[in-house]
């Protein structure tokens, strides 16, 4: 498929190809490899099992300035600790790309904002989100007020926390939910 050096077997590429253009895929692998040249093998034909730690991925320029970078990486990793295998890495990029559908983004956005992984956005999650967004420049009362307001607005079933249904309902109506 253009590149002489085989990183993937033909079958593997075939499988990937429909989802992503091949060139793009190997470029992504290049990025992955770049992060830790000593850890990631160039040869991916036998699907080696290696994972990159959170600290390395977070330092990518795409994520470096993002206040939620740790959460993003964690929510894409299988073990919840932020260690990403190559498949999860690809996953992350495909969701963050502009081609990804809105619904999928909503699902992962919910995961990202759900700090304590209980499938609900409760007040603590919102507080954390807010503090990350504003670099803790708001007073505690203001944070409190904003969180209460946000919950009041979006909570449809009255349990004082946002389930995914609430979140989706709210986020799909947002004018600038594009990322």
């Amino acid at each position: 498929m253009g590149n002489k050096q085989t990183i993937f077997t033909d079958e593997q590429l075939d499988a990937y190809q429909v989802r992503l253009v091949c060139v793009f895929y190997s470029r992504l692998h290049g990025r992955y490899h770049e992060l830790a040249p000593h850890l990631v093998p160039m040869d991916y034909t036998n699907e080696p099992d290696c994972k990159l730690p959170l600290a390395l991925i977070v330092n990518m320029p795409e994520l470096k300035e993002n206040p939620f970078r740790n959460r993003i990486v964690e929510s894409f990793s299988e073990d919840g600790m932020g260690n990403l295998s190559f498949n999860e890495f690809v996953d992350m990029f495909s969701v963050l790309s502009e081609m990804a559908p809105r619904e999928l983004k909503a699902i992962y956005a919910f995961k990202i904002y759900d700090f304590n992984v209980d499938n609900y956005l409760c007040k603590e999650d919102l507080e954390k989100t807010l503090n990350k967004l504003t670099k803790e420049e708001l007073t505690p009362e203001e944070v409190q007020l904003v969180c209460e307001k946000a919950i009041e607005e979006a909570d449809l079933d009255g349990d004082n926390k946002l389930s995914f249904a609430d979140f989706e309902n709210m986020i799909t109506r947002a004018p600038d939910f594009l990322r």
């Binding site: 999860e88 504003t134 109506r173």
Partner: protein, 899 residues
């Protein structure tokens, strides 16, 4: 045999489940299911094939099956429904108690019956298995329930049996797989699972697409994906390019992020103004100044294009040039320089006509732009005002995930914080309810005070102007400096102190800062109108004086010419006027140029004062506060002088009045738009810098109203007020006899008549004269007024309907929310009771298998009377209220564990 049959039954069920799932929402387990079933299917298929070989009847049966498939569709669907039901019952059995609670009692009876039925069914199944015939039948059902793929696989093995029906089925299956492949990227599965599913579906499609005869779909798909990707990238790049093309966007964004949207709104307004002035500048420069400079008669060829002999010595002095006298006065910059020659140059450019049309076009264009912008703003604010998720959206969607630059990120953090602060302020303001009577009283009082101030200052201006006119009549020489400059001094003093006074008064009113800003703007606007009024009155006086002077000069010139001719005729009869240098010819005062000069001087002095106050009031103050703070008795930064805030209202008004001057003066001084463009350009940079380096954000950062229609409204008023005197002078005062493009005409607009008569065919002027007949014009105006009235009333009714609908929607939303909350509360209560009931049921089961009926009765009682929470039965302690279990679905978990 029997074993296999059972297996198959289960298999079929699984398949059906899968099918149903796929038809419904895509669930996450689908892939797993698929993988499992695939293995099983393969095994089974192998087995069956072996059987087929063994049994000679196999083929026949298949055929039979097919026939039955077509004929007995109704029965099949019925069976499907029943099977579905039984499956649900099985599940229900597992979570018996809870499910029963969820579904109300009425359903229960039927459920029980169903269970019984199901048991019967099971038995029947067993019986069936023994009998060959029935077995056949059963197999058929399971086969039917099997995915079409199963069938199609058989068909594939034997392509000669491919009936159109199967072909259809196969197509469907392939399409389904394809759909799956396409929708795969939208599924929240981990990549591994996606890959596995994808590979399988792909294999399937590849295998059978060949049978259907369309194989190259994949490449096309990949190509399509690539193209969409490219297209999206292009779109994004184009967006970026567009934003990059907007001037000062980054600067304004930066200011907005630190100072809030109200300060940014001033800069946006400034930018908008700059755009308009660019257009005006283009018009006057391209259609008036350049043609005259290139194609008109050169400097020195005519009296109006030369500096008179008396001024020649000082014409190049900087002081004179700075005052726009000397060479500047006799240049393309002012009205007087233009010649009244009808067509100039080889292009036969109609200079006077062009001059007139540009003057009219400037005003018309400004009106059009202002009104259009206002309308658009009104539209925007009318439609996109959905604030139902204000805070949530701010919280979850405000971060821009494309930011990769630390500085931008810092700005973004600041802007998010500011926007949150703005939103909090709005929220607090909307919930503030103080003593209404007191606020009302205070507001009335404040308005009264402001009115007093305005009336006082108006009278003062009037008084001073009258006095100065008296002084002017007496002659300025025998008065003191103060008496000579009284008007200017009073004006500037009023302009300095009244806004402060208004500011103090407005604290009484306790308005939201945005409303307060509008009030402040309105009041200062009223004050500044006095400024305008004195200026116009002074100008009118001057014009009248000049016109009288002109009459005298005209008379003198005729006598001078007569004497000249008398002299020349006696000496030499040929070429009398060549000998006279144009600089020596006596000329009129040319009031138009004087007016233009006045405006240009005003603009220059205004610009200078703005810049100097900026440098002294903001920059110097900031420097002093910053560096004297180290050695001062009190804290300068927090205490008295502090840093200055950005004065939005003053700056906006300055801008608006400045623009008014441009509109008034542009007809007499074509250079004004150019000057204004320069000024706006410089002040954009200067003020941006000053704001970022020496101002502090306002104490209460507030959100500017999304559409700054208030600024626009003021601009419109000023535009109207400034075009009035300009039009008045054009229409009523005859132009000077010896300068400007309209010299020699009775009125300036005569140029239109002249053009119509000489440049257009006769019929056109005839039509025009008919059209301008009052008998036609008046009905037309009437019609327009009626149309406006009609549109106005319809738009009003639409707006009302809109408001009504919005209200309805809101109440509905609230109702829904309430309903949901009530339902959730009820579910919670039910859950609590259910847990109690469950625990009790367990207890009772332990003791003896108590009848379910009794328990249900009790439950019914409990749910009917939920008020008293004391129960006589069960152990409350074990099943107390658990905050985590709020949804009824969750209660299955403990019960499942128990069973």
């Amino acid at each position: 045999e029997r074993h296999r049959g059972k297996r198959r039954d289960g298999d079929g069920e699984k398949k059906k489940r899968k099918k149903r799932r796929r038809k419904g929402a895509h669930r996450a387990e689908e892939g797993e299911d698929e993988v499992q079933t695939r293995h099983e299917r393969r095994e089974r298929e192998k087995r069956r094939r072996a059987k087929n070989d063994q049994e000679a009847k196999g083929r026949e049966r298949d055929e039979e099956e097919r026939v039955q498939t077509t004929s007995g569709k109704v029965a099949k669907t019925k069976k499907n429904i029943r099977n579905e039901n039984t499956r649900r019952r099985v599940e229900e059995e597992e979570v018996e108690v809870e499910e029963r609670l969820e579904k109300r009692k009425k359903k229960h009876g039927s459920a029980k019956k169903e269970e019984k039925k199901e048991d019967e069914g099971k038995q029947m199944v067993k019986e069936k298995e023994r009998e060959v015939k029935k077995k056949k039948h059963k197999k058929e059902t399971s086969e039917e329930e099997d995915d079409k793929e199963e069938d199609s696989k058989d068909e594939e093995m034997r392509p000669e049996c491919l009936t159109p029906e199967e072909l259809e089925k196969l197509k469907e299956a392939v399409d389904e797989r394809k759909k799956l492949i396409q929708s795969l990227r939208g599924k929240p599965w981990p990549m591994k699972k996606k890959l596995v599913t994808l590979r399988e579906s792909q294999e399937f499609v590849e295998k059978y697409e060949g049978a259907l005869g369309k194989g190259k779909g994949r490449k096309l798909y990949a190509y399509k994906v690539m193209m969409t990707k490219k297209w999206m990238k292009f779109q994004r790049d184009f967006e970026n390019f567009k934003t990059a093309c907007i001037p000062w966007e980054m600067k304004i964004k930066e200011i907005e992020s630190h100072f809030g949207s109200s300060v940014a709104s001033y800069f946006i307004f400034l930018r908008w103004m700059y755009g308009i002035n660019m257009i005006l500048f283009g018009l006057t420069f391209g259609l008036v100044m350049v043609p005259e400079a290139l194609m008109g008669r050169p400097y020195g060829s005519m009296p109006r294009k030369t500096v008179p002999r008396s001024e020649e010595t000082s014409a190049m002095d900087f002081a004179v040039l700075w005052d726009f006298g000397g060479y500047a006065q006799y240049s393309v910059l002012f009205y007087g320089f233009y010649n009244n020659q009808r067509a100039i140059g080889w292009l036969k450019f109609r200079m006077p006509l062009s001059y007139f049309l540009v003057g009219v076009g400037t005003v018309a264009y400004s009106y059009m732009v202002v009104i259009r912008t206002m309308a658009r703003n009104a539209n925007e604010s009318g439609v996109g005002d959905d604030n139902s998720f204000n805070f949530s959206w701010k919280m979850f969607t405000s971060w821009d995930y494309l930011i990769g630059n630390p500085e931008t990120a810092d700005n973004k953090f600041a802007s998010i914080t500011t926007s949150f602060k703005e939103a909090i302020l709005e929220e607090q303001e909307s919930h503030k309810d103080d003593n209404i009577h007191l606020t009302r009283f205070l507001r009335v009082l404040a308005n009264f005070l402001v009115l007093c101030c305005l009336a006082g200052s108006g009278y003062l201006i009037y008084f001073v102007v009258r006095r100065s006119q008296k002084f002017a009549l007496d002659g300025l020489e025998n008065h003191t400096w103060w008496e000579r400059n009284e008007v200017n001094m009073v004006m500037s003093l009023l302009g300095m102190f009244c806004p402060m006074l208004f500011d103090v008064i407005s604290t009484l009113e306790n308005y939201h800062p945005r409303v307060a800003l509008q009030w402040q703007l309105g009041r200062i606007f009223a004050l500044f109108l006095g400024n305008l009024y004195t200026f116009i009155i002074a100008l009118m006086d001057e014009i009248n004086l000049k016109r009288e002077e002109e009459k005298i000069v005209k008379f003198n010139i005729t006598t001078w010419e007569a004497s000249l001719y008398n002299g020349t005729i006696s000496e030499n009869s040929t070429a009398p006027s060549i000998t006279i240098n144009p600089a020596d010819v006596p000329r009129g005062p040319c009031w138009e140029t004087m007016v233009g000069q006045e405006f240009v001087r005003l603009i220059i002095s205004d610009t200078m004062t703005t810049y100097i106050t900026l440098l002294i009031g903001d920059f110097l103050r900031a420097v002093l506060v910053r560096f004297l703070n180290y050695c001062w008795c009190w804290d300068l930064e927090a205490g008295f002088p502090s840093y200055s805030e950005f004065d939005v209202s003053g700056n906006v008004l300055g801008l608006i009045f400045n623009q008014g001057m441009i509109w008034m003066g542009a007809f007499y001084a074509p250079c004004l738009p150019a000057l204004n463009v320069l000024r706006l350009h410089v002040s954009m940079y200067l003020q941006c810098w000053a704001v970022m380096c020496c101002n502090v954000p306002q104490e209460r950062v507030f959100k500017a109203s999304g559409s700054n229609n208030f600024y626009m409204a003021m601009l419109l008023v000023i535009l109207f007020l400034s075009t009035l005197p300009a039009i008045y002078t054009i229409v009523t005062i005859p132009p000077s006899f010896d300068c400007g493009p309209f010299s020699g005409k009775n009125r300036m607009f005569d140029v239109i008549h002249e053009t119509l008569e000489s440049d257009f065919p006769a019929w056109f002027s005839k039509v025009f004269s008919y059209a301008s007949n009052p008998g036609l014009v008046l009905p037309f105006i009437l019609l327009m007024v009626l149309a406006i009235y009609y549109l106005q009333s319809t738009s009003k009714s639409y707006r009302q309907a809109n408001v009504e609908l919005k209200k309805k929607l809101q109440t509905q939303n609230e109702e829904n929310k309430k309903k949901n909350k009530r339902a959730a509360l009820k579910a919670q209560m039910d859950l609590e009771e259910a847990r109690k009931a469950a625990s009790q049921a367990a207890e009772e089961q332990k003791n003896n298998n108590a009848s379910l009926q009794g328990q249900e009765d009790r439950q019914l009682l409990a749910s009917r009377a939920p008020g008293p929470r004391t129960y006589h039965h069960g152990n409350h302690g074990a099943s107390g209220y658990l905050p985590g279990f709020s949804e009824p679905r969750m209660c299955r978990v403990p019960s499942l564990q128990r069973h």
